[in-house]
């Protein structure tokens, strides 16, 4: 039996992953002979990431994601602030934001293709539409729901108007905004893959559809593994809250 070190947040996922891979290897070796072996898939992945044309595809996906995500941040946060701050804007646009948020990213792809053709822009547009909604909705909620104790304390210290908004409402909304951004990352990543699968821009999604057409199951799994790894890594590295904040007593 593996003995898990106590209090270590790092080793546990590593060991869990190792266990899963061992189970996969065993499965392909002993039970389902047609299923690609984990080691073989890993070898293909290693070969891929060293190959320049694959690196170009990976780089293309990541740069599209970066561009789309930056737009999501700008549009989502400023849109949410407008909605939260001005009741009239909220009445006019609030339900639109909710509706956009309710449409899965992949469902925007056909419209994106009609508007932008099989281009980079179509993919970025898909990311923005797939992910901005959650940021708008969360920012809006965060701004409206300032905890009453904070609002009261701020008012007794003379905070009002624009200063109240920038120095109290916005910082109070930040945890909610960060939650929105975190979900937006996941939604955007999905939308990116959907966009790349259906348009023919050079990226991981397009690679997926290529290897699927020629029936390379091991290669397909290798790319999917990479997609999962990037999704998890960004979520874990950027959004994981520092839990080490100590206490002075």
């Amino acid at each position: 039996m593996l003995k898990l070190p106590k209090g270590s947040a790092f080793l546990k996922p590593v060991q869990a992953t190792a266990f899963l891979f061992a189970a996969w290897e065993l499965l392909s070796w002993a039970i389902v002979p047609d299923w690609p072996s984990a080691i073989e898939v890993g070898r293909i992945l290693w070969r891929d990431v060293r190959e320049p044309s694959f690196q170009a595809a990976l780089g293309g996906s990541l740069s599209r994601m970066l561009a789309g995500y930056l737009l999501v941040m700008v549009i989502g946060i400023s849109g949410g602030i407008l909605l939260g701050r001005f009741p009239l804007v909220d009445q006019l646009m609030g339900s639109l934001a909710v509706a956009v948020h309710a449409i899965p990213g992949a469902a925007w792809v056909p419209l994106s293709i009609i508007w932008f053709g099989m281009t980079e822009q179509a993919v970025i547009f898909t990311i923005v539409l797939g992910a901005a909604g959650i940021v708008i909705v969360n920012t809006d909620t965060g701004i409206r729901e300032v905890p009453p104790f904070i609002a009261r304390a701020a008012r007794t210290m003379g905070a009002r108007g624009v200063k109240y908004f920038w120095f109290v409402v916005v910082p109070a909304a930040i945890p909610k905004i960060v939650d929105g951004l975190r979900l937006a990352w996941a939604f955007g990543w999905r939308a990116l893959m959907a966009g790349e699968l259906l348009t023919s821009v050079n990226g991981l999604g397009q690679r997926l559809s290529q290897v699927a057409k020629v029936g390379e199951l091991d290669h397909l799994l290798a790319i999917m593994l990479l997609i999962a790894a990037i999704g998890i890594a960004v979520d874990g590295l950027i959004f994981k809250r520092p839990s080490s904040a100590g206490s002075i007593r």
Partner: protein
């Protein structure tokens, strides 16, 4: 500045009915005076603080500060809340600077003033700490520094030490008195603890519950520093406890719907206890 409440009543609507919280409150805090409001839980004493702070409006009657009606919150009347209500995203320094920033003080002066008040509450070593890193007593120190840094005319304290342990509470009580003697703001201090009220105040207003009414006013003439075992102080406490004992029973009767009577020796309002703790 003088605080005066004239015939103040306050009702809230509760499930469609009007619930009267305060009834015909007449109360005065003279300039520079330290007044405690004492009463059992739910007697509306926090509402009085909110009215003076301008966070709430009376249903009828007048709330006057310096002879003028209160129309809203103002930095000349700051509040120390029971739960400290610090801004979690700001450091100790940031919290104390907050009101000064709202007042438009330039950064250098703001910093100087904040540091001065942080020193006053002995937190100079923790200026960069965030609220979640502080103990309950330290949070209240920050809340006090934050309220004082604005150099208010009136300092309102709403059960500021209620959730602290006995030792921390008594240290903070003494420090509050020292600070008060230094700057002499007008203080309105809400508590449900008889010992705290008689230990601190020039006068104690005893509030009855449901609806809150002023039951009695007790001037505490014992000179400071006061000693817990001073017979004069104990006799004040005894008198107030007599009045409050009836109140606590009344609250229990209303909540439990039956007759509750405590033998003298096990009275729930013994001085070392907090009133309403067992309700």
């Amino acid at each position: 500045m003088r605080v005066e409440l004239r015939h103040v009543s306050k009702s809230f609507s509760h499930n469609g009915h009007a619930l009267e919280v305060l009834q015909d409150i007449n109360l005065v805090v003279e300039e520079g005076e330290f007044v405690c409001l004492l009463g059992p839980s739910g007697c509306g004493k926090s509402t009085i603080v909110n009215l003076v702070a301008g966070l709430e409006r009376p249903t009828s009657g007048d709330v006057l500060v310096g002879g003028k009606p209160v129309t809203g919150p103002d930095a000349s009347r700051t509040v120390v809340f029971q739960d400290a209500a610090l801004f979690p995203w700001l450091s100790v320094l940031g919290n104390v600077e907050f009101g000064l920033r709202m007042a438009g003080l330039e950064p250098r002066k703001r910093r100087e003033r904040a540091l001065e008040y942080i020193r006053l509450v002995h937190l100079s070593k923790f200026i960069q700490a965030y609220p979640h890193q502080l103990s309950g007593g330290m949070k209240q120190r920050v809340a006090i520094a934050r309220a004082l840094a604005l150099q208010p005319e009136i300092l309102l304290l709403d059960e500021p030490f209620a959730s602290l342990d006995a030792q921390t509470r008594s240290v903070l009580q003494n420090e509050l008195l020292e600070i008060w003697e230094l700057a002499r703001p007008t203080i309105l201090f809400v508590t449900h603890n008889v010992r705290e009220a008689t230990g601190l105040a020039d006068r104690v207003y005893v509030i009855s519950s449901r609806p809150g009414r002023i039951r009695d006013v007790q001037p505490v003439t014992v000179p400071r520093p006061r000693h817990a075992e001073d017979p004069a102080l104990l006799s004040h406490q005894h008198k107030i406890l007599g009045l409050l004992g009836e109140e606590v029973e009344k609250v229990l009767r209303e909540e439990l719907g039956e007759t509750v009577h405590f033998p003298e020796a096990q009275h729930p309002a013994a001085p070392e206890r907090s009133l309403g703790m067992h309700i």
